[in-house]
Amino acid sequence: MARDLRSSPDGRPDDQPSRQQRSHKNRVLAGLRADERGWIAGAQSGSLPDLEALFREHWPRAYRAAYLVVHDGAAAEDIAQEAMLSAIRTLDRFDRRRPFGPWLHRLVVNRAIDWARASALRAEADEPALELAAAGRAEEGESYSQPLLAGLGGLSPDHRAVIVLRHLLEYSPREIARMLDLPRGTVNSRLRRGLDRLADRIEVDEDTL
């Protein structure tokens, strides 16, 4: 399993996405972009339905990404919400030729990393631990979700963030490097180390099911 996690099914290095796992840029150019441009233009002109469409498209992933990094529901909601509010307030200045998602995800993930680091320093581990247990219970016996969530919880915020950006939001390492303001090599090494540790954890947790 550890082998599988570290590489794609066809054996390519992880910074070269397969056809199924194209970069965010390619996917959005394929279809979403036209709708999204319309929504942004509409929202810039004051259209509430367009804002709602933009919100519905991007909020769920933003909230999920924040939650997978911070492992605290209330904090994730605050983080995703503040990023969304910040995006809305500056919507008029947004260049609609560019995709909205990366802009929002950059805000969300950087804030989530900051929050998780600060939280670790304060050693506020009690509430997230409760949520970890609660969040996975629906999947018990039918998926990896519970051990996967617990496994993510055992990683550092930096490792969680790159895994979430790569494997949930499907950004390429180059895009992640730009979003987190890191060298591409650092992103690749964090991905490798994070997945190594995650693979170990999932194996352990699987045995307990």
Binding site: D4, Q21, W59, Y63, A76, E82, A135, H167
Partner: protein
């Protein structure tokens, strides 16, 4: 597990209360969208317009003498974008008789009324208060929101059953109730923590450098505690849970309005060291009180039963000698709340039964300015049905 399976599993992890979080966030997103001032179209397209104008001008100038006319047209086009400005506020139905801004909660949400009478709906919040410097904090049932000086939401914090949030006088901390807990959070949203169990009465920060907050503990003890060190400065037993706590602006007097069992209430005054200076039982039901911003006068509303129904009275009481009372205004029905203007020259009284606000010159009561159809003022285009708008404070600056 390969990368595709990993993604599937990440998508299968349910974030807590996803629907609730989405609903709450959409409400805030919508409020933020409503409150933003859209950039005028020409300004948003300045670059595009300028580039198009330059291209047209160059082409026209090269092709023919009438190009000069085109250049003039282009100048005109570029000129008009400089004229475009943000939309003007709608016509004001009334103005405040003094400077500052009034914070109001109505069934339609939270509003800020400026001195020129313009009203701005800030969002769907159920209770709010000002800091001494004009920062607002507000709450919904599950969310605390801190505002920046322009009225935009600076941050929000999700906590269960949030209410009665108050800024410290230095605007560096917020104390609030979450269910039956008193919590404190820093102005930058860091360090949110539970301080103590608390009764259902709004905490009151003592003005001054030290972060001292007065509250009633869960076991009914009036307590003043340092929010940074958790050191309790003093405590005092109270006969019943006070309806309101308020510090004087200089931090030397704390007033507690305590309901009594025999249709009266007591106005109890403490000094900064917790010594009980005076306690005066007054007939009637306590409604609201506010310390003057410059001395120890307290504006107080009480309601009493009368032969022909209810009457309400607004008094000004001297906290240094509570027997010294000045009746300011009385009327049939219910008064709801009172606030002092910055500078203490005016009192704003909510008269629920008359659907009015009254601005009363605190030093010359014969000067009264009334604003009628008050509920409709905060329900534009509606009927104004629902609870009477509540005055949350009248604060400094424009």
């Amino acid at each position: 597990m390969n990368a595709i399976e990993l993604r599937r599993e990440l998508l299968a992890i349910p974030p807590p209360d996803e629907l609730g979080a989405t609903r709450r966030s959409w409400q805030l997103a919508r409020a933020a969208f409503d409150e933003r001032e859209p950039t005028p179209w020409p300004k948003r397209h300045t670059r595009g317009l300028a580039a198009a104008a330059v291209a047209i001008a160059a082409l026209a100038a090269v092709l023919s003498p009438p190009g000069r006319a085109v250049i003039a047209d282009v100048r005109e086009t570029l000129g008009t974008e400089k004229i475009a400005t943000a939309p003007q506020p709608r016509a004001a139905p009334f103005t405040l008789p003094a400077e500052g801004r009034v914070l109001v909660t109505a069934p339609t949400g939270l509003w800020i009324v400026k001195a020129n009478g313009s009203k701005r709906r800030v969002g769907d919040f159920g209770d709010a208060s000002w800091s001494a410097g004009g920062l607002a904090v507000a709450s919904t049932r599950s969310r605390l929101a801190a505002f920046n000086p322009t009225g935009g939401i600076r941050w929000t914090l999700t906590r269960p059953r949030v209410h009665d949030a108050r800024w410290s006088s230095s605007a560096s901390r917020i104390a609030y109730l979450s269910g039956s807990n008193l919590r404190v959070v820093a102005a930058d949203k860091t360090g949110d923590r539970r301080m103590d169990g608390a009764a259902d009465v709004a905490p009151a920060w003592r003005p001054g450098e030290q972060p001292l907050v007065a509250y009633v503990s869960a076991d009914g003890v009036l307590t003043v505690r340092d929010s940074d060190t958790d050191e309790t400065l003093w405590t005092s037993g109270v006969r019943a849970t006070p309806a309101q706590l308020a510090w004087s602006a200089d931090g030397r007097r704390l007033v507690a309005a305590v309901p009594l069992s025999d249709g009266r209430f007591a106005l109890t005054v403490y000094d900064e060291a917790g010594r009980r200076l005076q306690s005066l039982p007054l007939p009637g039901t306590f409604v609201d009180a506010a310390f003057a911003p410059d001395d120890h006068r307290v504006a107080l509303i009480r309601r009493q039963r009368a032969e022909d129904g209810e009457t309400s009275e607004l008094l000004v009481v001297d906290a240094d000698s509570v027997r010294r009372q000045t009746p300011v205004f009385s009327g049939q029905g219910r008064f709801s709340d009172v606030a002092w203007s910055p500078g203490a020259r005016w009192l704003l009284l909510g008269w629920q039964s008359a659907d009015q606000w009254l601005f009363l010159r605190s030093t010359a009561v014969e000067k009264v300015k009334a604003v009628s159809s008050l509920a409709q003022q905060f329900d534009p285009g509606g009927t104004g049905a629902g609870p009477f708008p509540r005055i949350e404070g009248w604060c400094c600056g424009g």
